[in-house]
Chain length 151, copies 2
């Protein structure tokens, strides 16, 4: 738990989700940092061993979705506005993920070669979360005035 100091709120949300879904305790003996590295960090050398064309498995799709769920949850925590994640992914690893509050799309991300989806460092993962969250909040602020009219 000593590693949580370097984690940003997004990282904490992400690890909380992974732990919550770990119903058989597979990861119970792995530290938070190790677990995130295992799931999301690949060095350049490791990436070389991943084929360029390959099928993506359900587990990896879920792992990617969890990043956006964590962003959605962090957004909810900061703004009090409910949002949802919707993700479409072909088995070749082409897809799209959107986070929606009622009518506003606050995160919109396209994937190709999603089976190679990874970050070079843990900090890059955290930055991605922070960047998306900040952008989500600014988009929400921009569109919010329009939500207040009748729809």
């Amino acid at each position: 738990m000593g590693t949580e100091k370097t984690m940003n709120p997004f990282g904490v949300e992400l690890i909380r989700q992974i732990r919550a879904l770990d119903q058989f305790g597979n990861w119970s003996k792995v530290s938070d940092e190790e677990l995130l590295i295992k799931k999301y960090v690949k060095t350049k050398d490791e990436l070389k061993s991943v084929p360029v064309i390959a099928d993506i498995d359900e587990m990896m799709i879920n792992d990617i979705k969890m990043i956006y769920k964590a962003i959605a949850l962090s957004f909810e925590r900061q703004t009090g506005v409910v949002c949802n994640v919707i993700m479409e992914m072909s088995h070749e690893g082409f897809g799209r993920c959107a986070v929606l509050t009622d009518r506003i799309c606050i995160v919109d991300k396209y994937f190709k070669d999603a089976h190679r989806f990874s970050f070079r460092t843990l900090d890059a993962l955290f930055d991605e979360g922070d960047k998306n969250l900040a952008r989500a909040i600014s988009i929400y602020e921009q569109y919010k005035p329009c939500t207040e009219q009748q729809g």
Copy 2:
């Protein structure tokens, strides 16, 4: 082609898509009306023969998605604004479909038991298209003022 008189623009768009994707000409000898009925219309009696709990197949997911693609295309034709369909569907037939223009979610539809997804009459299908299209345009109009700010 005599049937097209009763078809609304949404129906024309839908049939156009089905024909465009019919690369092996499976449906080339079936009339537009028959084809739409085959794909989307089930009478109450026919519906009784569909199991309540079942898996949904890829083809049916695509057929459902095509309805929303046709709505998206009709929207584009009317407003000149590009939009996209994103659909997530579990193999049990639970899912969600959203049509997005840049940041605005103009159609948001949830499914359960999607393997039973059907309309009682062809007119009900056309009404669904018209209703969604009208709602999409009104939502777009509502949120449009906010898109003009910088984002």
